[in-house]
């Protein structure tokens, strides 16, 4: 009976593994096929293996241009969001001042308002301040929309820093700024890297905002590139798959390296205070 139950567990795990892996394997292998192979036998191994789809994509300057844009915008977004969120979380975690909870509530409310819903006025604002087709036009709003989750994750963490440290710092003559910079930040590397990683992944994957804001093709990001290629070459399935797979590789490598931060951060955001 126990044996049967255990093997059932492994069976379920195997089935789910297949459901996750097969689509990804299909895409990776598909990039090694010709279109004919894809139509005639998309489920078998490529025969013969075709390298040209991947090679062409890797030689395509447009591809690298979109990769560069995505990297730049992701770094800008993190570079704006993490300092802004940590400063605000710090003061709301460690000090009392009138209206504190009200301001915190205002930030939390932002969790309900995704970019898709704010997109029209956002577009008008960016047009008015001349940030269309400018990487900052994507990075600044993305950083702003990353604030609610970042603050919800950081504030409880900053609260767990012992009061004794704050007392000691004050006795030594540290003001709030010194305490933030010399004590709190060095102690908060785990939460800072978690927030940075989550913000980075969100920026890397973002679609709607770059689609609207980066009108100039020279500034387009990787997801936009994938979407364009998939709609332009509707019949060249193999090329589209190769392009898509190459776009997915950086995210997967990054996930392998930073799994702990991503998973830890998202569960902390959902479970803590």
């Amino acid at each position: 009976m126990r044996r049967i139950k255990r093997s059932m567990l492994y069976l379920v795990a195997a089935v789910v593994t297949l459901i996750i892996v097969l689509p990804i394997a299909y895409a990776v292998l598909g990039g090694f096929r010709t279109n004919r192979q894809l139509i005639e036998s998309p489920a078998s191994l490529p025969d013969p293996w075709v390298w040209s789809n991947y090679a062409n994509t890797l030689e395509n300057p447009r591809f690298w241009r979109t990769v560069g844009n995505s990297v730049l915008i992701a770094l800008l977004t993190v570079g704006i969001a993490v300092p802004a969120a940590s400063l605000a979380s710090f003061v709301m975690a460690r000090y009392r001042f009138p209206g504190r909870e009200w301001i915190f509530g205002l930030f939390v409310l932002g969790l309900l308002f995704p970019v898709a819903v704010a997109i029209i006025p956002l577009f008008v604002v960016l047009r008015d301040i001349h940030l269309l087709s400018n990487p900052l036009g994507v990075a600044l709003p993305q950083a702003a929309f990353a604030l609610p989750l970042s603050i919800v994750i950081m504030r409880p963490f900053f609260r767990t820093i012992p009061d004794e440290l704050q007392d000691a710092a004050e006795i030594d003559g540290c003001g709030p700024w010194r305490f933030y910079w010399s004590v709190v930040l060095p102690l908060s590397r785990p939460v800072l890297s978690t927030v940075a990683v989550i913000t980075l992944v969100a920026s890397w994957n973002a679609f709607l905002l770059p689609l609207l804001v980066l009108v100039d093709p020279d500034w387009q990001t990787l997801p936009i590139g994938v979407n364009n290629v998939s709609t332009q070459y509707t019949t060249d399935f193999a090329l589209v798959l190769a392009y898509t797979v190459l776009a997915m590789v950086p995210a997967l490598i990054f996930y392998l390296i930073a799994e702990r931060q991503i998973v830890g951060g998202l569960t902390a955001g959902a479970l803590k205070e």
Partner: protein, 318 residues
């Protein structure tokens, strides 16, 4: 994708909250000093989040193409038009169907898999990493790959053929009666890992001793699940349900890339409908739709917050 305040499921709080708060002396800080810390975040947030919310509400009362002056005040006509529009009502219904299916299928499946990963199965860490991987892929990549798999004669149909179920092959993304359910499958594929991870974290906070005690008292596995695990997991399940509903109300990227809401609106959502109106330069109308999405999100969030707060006031830890 994330949450608020939240009822901390099992905050392992040795000291009751209120007492802790009194003991902790948190220094006062002057307003100007506090504002200096808050300024960068508040400025960003005000300009790119709060101001657009207010502007959305304002635009929604006008007939506006986005270029000329905002002069054609139409009151609530845009809202009336939306609810009178068959395509908007379809989109709203599709959002509702995704919510119902998510709660009925996706979250129970995520819970089952979380329990699987919480059991003493070998390779748990690797499985957890694998099951969560789709959540890290971008919506665009996911959509493009699934569009290829589900196209007529694609990998999915061929696999059905291979196992002798070729008769089941359908126009997965082109048949208006089927497309929404295909889409729901893709959505679940992408997002179940997120719910699984949250529920797993909740499960891991339930002490093994409780389940062991139930077993010693002669409870069956089902009784232990029903009367020990489930009640203790309830706060986490609520978080998961809340996030799932909010996410489903705001569904856009994945649907847009995979089907563009088609064919003929058969897989549209409120957000894809909004985006199309934006494309038609009906910015007032599109803003009204965004306000509807926001309003519905609030409608879900307020009772949720209330529930979380009531638990706090009742002082129930866990």
């Amino acid at each position: 994708m994330s949450v608020t305040e939240l009822d901390a499921p099992t905050t392992p709080a040795p000291v009751p909250r209120r007492a802790r708060r009194q003991r902790r002396r948190r220094s006062d800080i002057s307003w100007p000093a506090a504002i200096a810390f808050l300024a960068p975040a508040l400025a960003l947030y005000a300009l790119f989040v709060l101001y657009p919310i207010v502007q959305s509400a304002r635009y929604s009362l006008y007939d506006w193409n986005g270029l000329g002056p905002l002069s054609d005040f139409v009151g609530l006509d845009n809202f009336r038009e939306a609810f009178g529009d068959r395509f908007f009502r379809d989109a709203l219904r599709h959002n509702a169907i995704v919510i119902v299916l998510s709660l009925a299928l996706q979250i129970p499946a995520a819970l089952a898999l979380a329990m699987l990963l919480n059991s003493k199965i070998r390779g748990r860490a690797a499985l957890r990493m694998l099951f969560f991987a789709p959540f890290v892929l971008s919506e665009v990549v996911t959509g493009v790959v699934w569009r290829q798999i589900l196209r007529p004669g694609g990998m999915f149909d061929q696999t059905l053929d291979a196992v002798g179920a070729g008769g089941l092959a359908k126009e997965w993304l082109a048949d208006p009666d089927v497309v929404l359910y295909s889409m729901f499958f893709v959505i679940s594929w992408k997002y179940f890992g997120f719910h699984m991870i949250i529920l797993l974290a909740g499960l891991q906070q339930i002490p093994d001793s409780l389940r062991e005690a139930a077993a010693i008292d002669g409870a069956t596995a089902w009784q232990a699940f029903r009367h020990v695990t489930l009640p203790l997991l309830a706060p986490t399940i609520r978080v998961s349900v809340f996030l799932s509903v909010i996410g489903a109300l705001q569904l856009f990227d994945l649907v847009w890339v995979t089907t563009r809401g088609g064919p003929i609106g058969a897989s549209s959502t409120m957000a894809t409908f909004l985006y199309e109106r934006f494309g038609d330069r009906q910015l007032g109308y599109a803003s009204a739709v965004s306000i509807v999405i926001f309003g519905l999100s609030l409608l879900v969030a307020i009772p949720y917050q209330r529930m979380a707060m009531r638990r706090d006031l009742a002082g129930s830890v866990t």
